[in-house]
Chain length 371, copies 2
């Protein structure tokens, strides 16, 4: 990817297509009503999915996707909204997204750890057949079972079985919690609010008096500034050096106190924060791209997506590493099981390091081509 | 580093200094006699060191250094030597180098694992005071002791203590074996042979009839070809991609049978072979550099040294990883100890991967500037 310098435009002979002269209110209304319609459609899909776990998971994913976008756009363009209504809607959408996301996160974490154990056993990654029926743990084909290897190999099979039990239990609990959330009056209030949003967006009176191309880019730019500031606080010069061994540097660190977060969580927190800011920036960009607001290259959405993907991988690997460490705290496990969990933890922390490296490369390219 | 193209030389106006017209016999004799003198000097230093472990270790290092060079040069330039005498001397020097090297390897492995455990505990690396008196294990300041952390942190301290015990025992045994070797008639025969070498090098009659600059570069080139062939068989395209997770890919693999080497050892073997070939190539280059034989840039010795260093690091990390895995096979260890050893194993396998990556970069640069 290289920086593109547009050729100087000959004045008035061949005018470039101007962005349409829509107001900020029209632009935001168009975007938010589309997302609210997506939200309501996903909700119907979820209801129709019934006992089909795969359809339900896909509907929940789409529901969360639109909820995050509505909340993000209300956040970035907040000065143009009726803040009383939009702030509350935002809070409720994030609550719903969180309540529905936990089940998916448990399933994805188990998949990731399953894949890593297969890779570490030198076996090809196995997709364990159809997704398990809700609440029923799958009999995963764990590596090492039936092998003629020594105790340490058996440990991989046992570590796998332990993780399977723990994460399936967590997933079942998350599923119950999601069902409870979906049956609550709080949820029905969010659904009603989304239905209202599909026909009427809570905007500030000022949003009707300004053009989208005048009012929106500045607010997206403010989101960009918050992102840049957060990225500048990251140790990117270390992360850009391959094999810096930084992500695992506290893998065996003593916790300063019982209530303090572990050292790795403290180290990861600023990256998670940048992940949230990249997302906000992406959603802000989607509104601009729809309006073809001239101040921003539409091409920016691709590196923003790549940055998001690197930071999603960072978060997923960090949580998988924590799950392996927590499993190792199970009382009375065999040493071989603990050994395999140690290897798994270190492996996922190296994935964390690899994701930081990948983010650094994407960010560097964005600095060349970006706004 | 960039390729240097010498400017075309004006004919006969300012002749470049020709390499001196020494014979191949003179060149080899000069190099080998110097190394034999080094060998004898180190031997005297070793005798004078007495109970001083540090002086003795340094003398043993110099002894092995000259033994390896004599053996390597006799190997590369074998067609110019009296093969009956030189082959036997080579075998005996490699035996001696191996017998003396084991103790140092145990000490270095313990240092490496100690450093890694400190890094993983988030503590600054600690040099554990003076080197322990031979056979007496040092009370290393292991991380985690006295910390308020949970069981997994205590595991780091216990893993450290376990490794300390095991490697100190191995080191003590290696020390006894080295002392036995140094008292053997076999050793006295090597020392005698080195004394003879210092005054008379076992060369083929043909070596006296050819110029060094005509006979030596071709043999060094043959060593280079063997090296290039071995490097071409390495998975360098994978190793050149940072965070390829290849070195740990078999960290929990089942051993196909009780007698088969573990999967990681099989994966490492071709790299160890390249390490040996780079060394031979380096020693061959030292002879050429001394004679300023025109066919080779003296500048080649620097990237060869860097290649050697990367592959030394590869071997050291691979052996440290194996030591952690072996310690995890100790019966009746606590799960937290095994967990820490798993993390340590994975950490050292990532060092293996980092060393391969580093070697790939050095090799790429050599392909640009090299012969």
């Amino acid at each position: 990817m290289t920086a593109q310098h547009p050729a100087p435009r000959p004045a008035r002979t061949a005018p470039a297509p101007e962005p349409p002269a829509v107001t900020a209110a029209e632009a935001l209304t168009g975007y938010l009503q589309d997302r609210a319609t997506d939200f309501l459609r996903s909700l119907r899909l979820y209801g129709a999915a019934g006992a089909d776990a795969e359809d339900a998971a896909e509907a929940a994913r789409l529901l969360r996707r639109s909820a995050r976008r509505i909340a993000g756009v209300l956040h970035v363009y907040r000065p143009l909204t009726d803040t009383d209504g939009s702030d509350q809607l935002r809070t409720e959408l994030l609550w719903l997204s969180g309540a529905l996301g936990h089940e998916h996160a448990c399933a994805a974490r188990l998949d990731r750890l399953r894949g890593a154990l297969h890779r570490l056993s030198g076996a090809p990654a196995v997709t364990p057949g159809p997704a398990p029926v809700r609440g029923v743990p799958a009999a995963g084909p764990w590596p090492g079972t039936g092998a003629t290897g020594d105790g340490l190999t058996v440990g991989a099979a046992r570590a796998g079985a332990l993780l399977e039990r723990r994460l399936t239990l967590a997933r079942t609990r998350a599923h119950s919690a999601a069902l409870t959330a979906l049956g609550s009056t709080r949820f029905h209030a969010v659904a009603d609010a989304a239905a209202v949003l599909a026909s009427e967006v809570p905007l500030a009176p000022a949003a009707h008096g300004v053009l989208a191309r005048e009012a929106l880019p500045g607010l997206a730019e403010a989101a960009q500034r918050r992102l840049v500031e957060a990225v500048e606080a990251l140790p990117l010069s270390v992360a850009g050096h391959p094999y810096n061994a930084e992500a695992l540097a506290h893998g065996l660190a003593a916790t300063p106190g019982a209530d303090a977060p572990p050292a790795e969580a403290r180290q990861d927190a600023p990256w998670h924060q940048v992940r949230r800011l990249v997302r906000l920036r992406r959603y802000a960009q989607e509104v601009l791209d729809e309006q073809r607001c001239a101040a921003y290259e539409p091409a920016l959405s691709v590196p923003l997506l790549h940055a998001c993907q690197a930071l999603d991988r960072h978060r997923d690997a960090a949580e998988a590493a924590a799950a392996a460490a927590n499993a190792a705290r199970t009382p009375r496990i065999a040493p071989a099981t603990a050994y395999a969990l140690g290897i798994l933890h270190a492996d996922q922390r190296h994935e964390v390091e690899a994701a930081r490296f990948a983010f650094g490369r994407v960010w560097q390219r964005m600095a060349v081509t970006g706004p």
